[in-house]
Symmetry: C2
Subunit: 315 residues, 2 copies
């Protein structure tokens, strides 16, 4: 079968580190063009300044990988779909719930495939956890997501602007795993949000979750964006039957009863493109807003606290 | 055809003022039981203290009308569905987006009908506006929703608690009309939220909306919960073709080019029960979270401002 011809828009950090290598390694795709504001040299591919330029002047292609920032991405998705392209989106898909909800109908109307990706879900440990937990009653769930914004988003002021999510920018990765291993179950029951005195988005949060199927579960989330030293991205689960399951390092390592049973890095993006091929073959979209809904609920239900002003580390 | 036997739970202000008269006037329903914390005398009907009591000790019935407050309502819906009952819910359906999303799958799993009502949608002026605007490009949209919390929620502290929505408790009615007349189009682009210094939910807000189909539209929302004197619930629309359409009084009056063309009160709840009968006849659920999503997005994208402390008017 001939490969799907693909264009990629938004050649930033995540595209260079993950998308381009994953595409190059997957024979189902042939990358034929790039769109990028800044000039980028990659395999001699033709480059276009923006989506209109790509659509009007670029080569023929079937699918677009969108790696631009979430602000404005919904407009690009709708335009690409309307031009007859299938679309793959980086996470978080859009800055708002209602904007996200315009996308699947747009894909249906265009008769094209839309794939809203959540990279953390594409670890083998996450799939295994989902399988092990499918029929379990939850006793305790502890999500700890603590990293240093200075290290992962140096100087990126947009994370502090209204709609920039703040600490929920990384936390949405935890939610993408959570909603994969417990589909349609966990909801936000209460939230405390710490806003730096000089910023519009939270730097830390503590949440209590509720599980529709395990009313007695003790489920909490602690997130912090000013974590020095070791960085922690852990989901810890204990069930009524005594199963003790831990996902660490953002879902790449799975521990059962304290034993490391899956330790696999760098499968996320290859798996994303393998899934995209399947969706294209089957002409089927995958557009799940569940992680975004949990973020929105944390803001909706959150008690706001003002904490010390945040200033970037000196460079 | 035999009437659907109905039980009603939560016999508060809205049930007494709207649900009970609407049910009594609709021959498709036979009210057979009430569930209420406080004793209520109504047509000699048997009364039960809570949902378990009703299900275990009450008469046979097919459908439950849930008029309890939104907090805890999702649990009641799931329990009623699991017991084989069809369910109608008052608005707002749940305090969170993710909780709302557990409900439709629960109805599907139970093979029962779930109807999440938005009363403001059931005005003839709203249906007419939807029809007139279906193919219009939006030029200007102005939503003004200004009422006095002292008058409509005297002493109800829960509106100020985290998750209590604050001024978005009435605003969600405007959003329910907006998402009916412009389905799947309008999203929150920016929001400013005024929090009283002593409260956890906003007392006023100013939003800018975006319309996927009218990128140049000027669409704004101004809401205030401390409006003395005349109360205002108005949606004002001007389209590129020159159509000028205004819904006032919460959607009960429709004006075209300054002329009052529909003026109809008290149809909302009779129409809700007429729709419920249709859904039951067709074994079809109606569970639309769009108004709730706009509220969540306002919190998610909102810039927070602290304003004067709020204190209730002296009684």
């Amino acid at each position: 079968m001939a490969a799907y011809r693909l264009a990629l828009m938004g050649v930033g950090v995540i595209a260079k580190a993950q998308h381009l290598p994953a595409i190059a390694a997957n024979p189902a795709f042939e990358l034929v063009a790039l769109a990028s504001r800044a000039p980028v040299a990659y395999q001699g591919l033709p480059q276009y300044a923006n989506l209109d330029d790509l659509l009007n002047n670029g080569p023929e292609f079937e699918a677009l990988a969108l790696c631009t920032p979430p602000q404005g991405r919904a407009d690009l998705v709708r335009k690409a779909l309307a031009a007859g392209k299938h679309v793959l989106m980086e996470k978080p898909p859009t800055p708002s719930v209602s904007e996200f909800l315009t996308l699947e109908p747009a894909a249906q109307a265009a008769g094209r495939v839309l794939f809203a990706t959540w990279h953390s879900r594409f670890n083998r440990g996450v799939a295994k956890a989902q399988q092990l937990l499918a029929n379990e009653t939850l006793a305790r769930l502890t999500i700890t997501w603590k990293e240093d914004v200075n290290r992962w988003h140096p100087g990126q002021e947009w994370v502090w602007h209204p709609g920039g999510f703040g600490v929920f920018d990384p936390t949405i990765n935890a939610f993408s795993i959570l909603t994969e291993i417990f589909p349609n179950r966990l909801t936000v029951a209460a939230a405390d949000l710490d806003f730096p005195a000089n910023r519009d988005t939270p730097i830390a949060a503590r949440l209590t979750l509720a599980d529709a199927r395990s009313p007695k579960a003790d489920a909490t989330v602690a997130v912090d964006w000013l974590q020095r030293g070791e960085q922690t991205w852990t989901i810890d689960v204990v069930t009524d039957s005594g199963l003790a399951l831990t996902l660490t390092h953002g879902g790449t390592k799975l521990w059962l009863g304290g034993q490391l049973v899956i330790d696999e890095s760098d499968t996320e993006y290859p798996e994303i493109y393998a899934r995209f091929k399947t969706l294209l073959d089957e002409n089927r979209s995958e557009v799940d807003g569940a992680p975004l809904h949990l973020v929105a609920d944390a803001f909706l239900m959150g008690k706001r606290h003002t904490v010390a002003a945040f200033n970037w580390d000196a460079a």
